[in-house]
């Protein structure tokens, strides 16, 4: 899409500002979206005069893509980035011992969040690596009839919660391994690997207000689940994942898990309220808005809405003051509509009109209200420009139209 390419060029040009550069010229570096957006039709809701001042950036409503570091997590990590820099596998001196102690404490924090034993947690570089390790197990299986069921706990595009406990029950009774990618669920909804009979679980650091580049895989010990290592080397992490464990990152993951455990109820209540507010306010002001995904089995912080007769990318570009996504970040470079929406039977045209709103721990009521207001404003404006909308207003059934080929 031309719009997205232009936006990327503009974004690359101005994102040099944040970061620990001494005397960085922050004045005059206006990441004011209005200055760079190629669309001309956007009304002047941005103050035009480019006066010197602090850098402005869009509101962040894309927590499914990644989350900011919780300040408590940064606080836990900093000593290990400054003075306590030992290799946790060094056995012969205090630098190694203190680093190892931190690593094991982090392991305990992760385990405690999901009801596991610390010996069942292996640190990896992220949920993707964990998924690969878990799936590879299938190939390494000894018995020919062993198989694996792999299900996402909470979907990252539409927020649907899968019936994990029920699936676990079935797998356990049929002696089939059960893996779940819990990247979007850990620390947000209660999970217990024993109650839910989970054999393998992938955990991602940066989805739960922890650092990027770290994750974990939970591997059940009783009954033992055998996995094959993806990367071999010095035999760290019980031989299941060789490579020096990055102490600062795993300390961050552990701290993020501990904070999540403490804050789960408070966050869930708040996020549910904000989500309700967003959905209600949009739906009462705009007709023809569909929420994708089962409304009952749904994680409130991930809201996927389809706005009929509005193209998703156009709406994203119009909502330039809000960082949003129209689907999964991992497939954002392609132009295909979401495979998830297609799988749940969404019409092609509605699938192209979907936007994902992410509400997280740090999202405020003002951000939600601003997003709602802008969304309503731009959907109305885009619909005004849409011939399809005009036809619908005239009472024409779009499904009955025979479009001709030229």
């Amino acid at each position: 899409m031309l719009l997205r390419a232009a936006w990327r060029r503009a974004a690359v040009a101005v994102t040099a500002a944040p970061g620990p550069k001494p005397a960085a010229p922050t004045r005059g570096l206006r990441l004011r979206v209005g200055d760079h957006a190629p669309q001309s039709a956007v009304p002047a809701d941005t103050t035009a005069a480019p006066e010197a001042g602090p850098v402005l950036r869009p509101l962040y409503m894309d927590v499914q893509a990644t989350t900011p570091l919780d300040p408590r997590v940064l606080d836990a990590m900093l000593p290990y980035l400054i003075n306590y820099y030992g290799n946790p596998h060094s056995r012969t001196h205090a630098y190694g011992w203190e680093s190892e102690a931190a690593m094991e404490r982090a392991r305990q924090q992760v385990a405690s969040l999901i009801g596991a034993d610390p010996r069942e947690i292996i640190f990896t570089s992220g949920a993707t690596e964990s998924n690969n390790i878990a799936i590879k197990e299938l190939e390494a299986a000894i018995q020919p009839d062993t198989s694996l069921v792999s299900v996402m706990t909470v979907n990252n595009e539409i927020g649907v919660k899968q019936p994990i406990a029920e699936i676990g029950q079935i797998c356990s009774s049929r002696k089939v391994y059960f893996h779940t990618d819990a990247a979007q669920a850990v620390g947000k909804i209660p999970l217990d690997v024993n109650d839910m009979k989970i054999d393998l679980m992938s955990i991602s650091g940066h989805k739960i207000y922890g650092p990027k580049g770290v994750g974990a895989i939970y591997i059940r010990r009783r009954p033992r689940v055998r996995v094959e290592a993806l990367q071999s080397g010095g035999g760290q992490e019980r031989g299941m994942r060789s490579g020096t464990v990055p102490t600062p990152l795993v300390v961050g993951l552990g701290a993020a898990c501990e904070v999540a455990q403490q804050e789960m109820e408070y966050d869930h209540k708040r996020i549910s309220k904000l989500a309700e507010r967003l959905i209600q306010n949009i739906m009462k002001s705009l007709p023809d808005v569909v929420m994708n995904g089962d409304p009952e089995h749904h994680y409130p912080g991930c809201i996927n809405l389809s706005f009929a007769y509005v193209e998703g990318e156009s709406l994203l570009m119009a909502l330039k003051d809000v960082a949003l996504s129209s689907g999964s970040a991992c497939t954002s470079a392609s132009l295909e509509p979401s495979y998830v929406l297609r799988a749940i039977g969404t019409d092609e045209d509605l699938a192209h009109s979907s936007i994902r709103f992410g509400i997280g721990r740090f999202t405020t009521e003002e951000e939600v209200d601003y997003t709602v207001e802008k969304c309503i404003q731009h959907v109305k404006r885009l619909r005004e420009m849409s011939p399809l909308w005009e036809m619908v207003q005239d009472g024409i059934d779009l499904k009955s139209i025979k479009w001709t080929q030229h």
Partner: protein
Amino acid sequence: MAASSRAQVLDLYRAMLRESKRFSSYNYRTYAVRRIRDAFRENKNVKDPVEIQTLVNKAKRDLEVIRRQMDSHAVAQAEVHWHNLSSLQPPPPQFKQFSYLSLLISWDYRHTPSHLANFCIFSRDGVSLY
């Protein structure tokens, strides 16, 4: 140790709010203020002195976390603004030069993890834990 009095708890509450307002990031600032208010409000009817002391100690630790962040966060400049929302607090006066040395100083002495009390480390900087 004498139990924390009402006045001490209030002082702590005010100190925490004061420090939290120094976050230059809108999202961290609003979260800290909101979370602190909600936590103190939620626990305002706790009567058991042991429980009160546990909560006070946790709050003190969190206050230290926020204080330490002020050095780290001076580095990151970006601020979220809305042109038309004047109710937001203006950010504190800007940009201290990033000083690696000041970060080191604040981390050397204020934060020595207590679980490392058994180790003895001698280094050029003279930091030792015992």
